[in-house]
Amino acid sequence: MKTHNYLSPLAVVGALALTLTACGSTGGGGTSTTSDDCSAYSSYGKHDGKTVSVYSTIVDTEATNLEESWAQFEKCTGITIKYEGSKEFETQIGVRSKAGNAPDVAIFPQPGLLADQAKTGNLKPAPKAVSDLVDKNWSADWKKYGTVNGTFYASPMLANVKGYIWYVPKTFKDKGWQVPKTWDEMMTLTKKIADDKAMKPWCAGFESGEATGWPGTDWIEDVVLRAEGPEVYDQWVTHGIPFNDPKIVNAFNTTGKVLLDPNYVNGGFGDVRSILSTGFAQAGQPVLDGQCAMHHQATFQAANWPAGTKVAPDGDVWAFMAPPVDASKGVAITGGGEMIGAYKDTPEVQAYLTFMASADFANNRVKLGGAISANKGLDANNAGSELDKLSIQLLQDPKTVFRFDGSDLMPGAVGSNSFWKGIVSWVNGTPAQQVADSIEASWPKS
């Protein structure tokens, strides 16, 4: 029966299929913190059995809190949110979208990255319900960050305020040090602490895998905004002035007076260059151990302290905003935030996006602690800590000059590549002018 030979490969394939079917695994599972009251969620409709995949940079505790803040939404709408957080998001999102394997929803930590993705045409414009909510709940500045070429793509999610300087109140009190009101006072204090020789004034850590260098960009941005004002800052991030403008090089040199002085850094870790080999999450630890006095890091540093550390003006650790150069000009702060954009526009994705833009989400998440939002519907009393409360008040205060993290606004080639690499080579010994020149050379021509 020669003609039946072609059946045997079929049998092999069939067996293979059976093997593959056995490899499935079970997933899902509920969260215990949900209640039975679904009245607040009725407007999102019922989407039983639907799944929305969400991809972002948020991992560990912050990811758990994020998932918990939408647990009730999942329960009431029947949508399963498949969340995946990755530190490699910035590169992987481009790879996945190009490969046709994009998540349903991506939470972009940088407007520049969002713009890149919007320009590829893969990202879907935000539904009208989301756009209306953002008009109602956020300032025009924030909406601008989710808009690319006039089309609104992504609503802001959470915010973080950068430029805090963390210190131990008790140490300051014991030593008789005052929280500085101006940049000059801060430098005087720095010198005083260094002369005291009990500890290094500063500790810093810029290591962050392939993103190594980014905490340094925060330093430079803070200095540019405070020393040169918001107009120069805006020109700088939009390439209205070149990256190697003397004002920017000057900001590098001002920052270098702290970071490149072996007498001032790097408490608990070693010399100036140990900044590059110290992970940003561990870098603040010596503040608590009394090996350094101050550490510059955004609000999320509160989550990097060991469990049980009390963050309060009278607690184990507290923070002051990096002081202005001219105190009479008021407070200027830089900060960041996430933008939620979608690669799909199914009803369940739209329902999810609408919920994420609502004040309900902001309040849910902020109540869990360690996060804030610039959502005007957010009640500052929901803040999980005194620091969050302070930050929300700063963000909601109309007199505060707020600017989005500069490197996040620059094109990807600069903001998430050459600027980081520039910081790395600058700390490793390359002169500021040369670093600024090479970053300027990498700015995309168009």
Binding site: T3, Y6, A17, S25, T80, E210, G270, L276, N417, S418
Partner: protein
């Protein structure tokens, strides 16, 4: 569950479709008229593989080659990307490092592996000694990168050291060293990781080859009064020449493509970038797919002659046998 169910269904459908296509092809081949049956059979069996090759290998290769001549916006820009690659100081460092890697890694891994294989040949506990060196092969490049990053870890003088090497340096009264930050020797410290992994591979293949050298030849050489070095030089080496070439070329190809070690340990900072790492950075982080493609093309051209040479040596060997 819906998600898993959906994926499962996709798998089942894909497998069924595949089976159906194969079935139809075989049926047609079987039913072909006698006169052209041979040709139809050959075509029928080659076609699926050929089509997959075209879609999965040839098409992307052609597309990458075209990309190599475009700018960030996808517009043609001639040979600008190649000019960039051979003129920009940063890009030149990348090329230089790749050359250092491809010279040092195959040479060191193969010679250390060969020496080790010779010394432990017929020694007591040979298997255990082999396993010891072969074990790193089982670790992924990323895993090895993380392990060695901890080995090279740095803390300032006077602070308790967390890295093994700096701990030893301090114990010997030396200052701790920033192993991964000081160019150009940091490239060598990265190369050590690759050598650590590849030596086991070289050792296993060469050890097997040494055991394949006819005992009579070695005996004869010894009776003729050859000392161990002469035996090694004039009997063993010619006897394992084929395996040596295979080991050298395989490691060279692996080295040209090295990516994970550099990415995990320095992310290409401090002048340690190599072609594969820079290709990824340019294409996916800096938004310059053209430059990435140009680097990929150069990498391909560098690997190609080695692959061809490797294939020819293997074929020649088969002919001899």
């Amino acid at each position: 569950m819906d998600f898993i169910g959906g994926k499962l269904l996709q798998v089942v459908i894909a497998v069924a479709a595949f089976a159906a296509v194969i079935g139809i092809i075989m049926l047609l081949v079987d039913r072909a008229p006698k006169s052209i049956k041979d040709k139809v059979t050959v075509a029928g069996f080659l076609a699926p593989a050929a089509i997959l090759m075209l879609v999965g290998l040839v098409y992307p290769a052609v597309q990458t080659s075209i990309f190599a001549f475009t700018d960030a916006k996808g517009q043609g820009n001639g040979v600008d990307n190649f000019v960039w690659m051979f003129t920009q100081p940063a890009a030149l460092v990348t090329l230089r490092n790749t050359v250092i890697w491809t010279v040092l890694v195959p040479l060191l891994s193969t010679s250390i592996g060969l020496a080790y294989a010779v010394f432990i040949d017929k020694a007591r506990g040979e298997r255990a000694l082999k396993a010891l060196v072969f074990m790193p092969m089982a670790i992924s490049f990323v895993g090895a990168g993380i392990i060695w990053k901890l080995v090279y870890d740095y803390r300032g003088p006077g602070i308790e050291q967390t890295g093994v090497l700096n701990f030893l340096r301090v114990a010997l009264g030396l200052d701790p060293k920033q192993f991964l930050l000081d160019a150009p020797e940091n490239t060598v410290f990265l190369i050590i990781v690759m050598v650590w992994i590849q030596t086991g591979f070289a050792m296993v293949i060469l050890s097997a080859a040494i055991k394949g050298v006819p005992v009579e030849l070695v005996e004869a050489a010894r009776l003729d009064g050859a000392n161990p070095w002469q035996q090694f030089r004039n009997v063993t080496i010619p006897g394992i020449r084929g395996s040596l070439v295979v080991v050298l070329t395989t490691i060279t190809i692996a080295t040209l493509k090295v990516f994970d070690i550099v990415r995990t340990m320095t992310a290409g900072n401090y002048d340690t970038s190599v072609i594969a790492n820079e290709m990824y950075t340019q294409a996916f982080r800096a938004g310059e797919p053209g430059r990435g493609a140009a680097l990929a093309l150069v990498l391909f051209l560098l690997v190609l002659p080695i692959v061809v040479y490797n294939a020819r040596v293997l074929r020649k060997q088969r002919e001899i046998r």
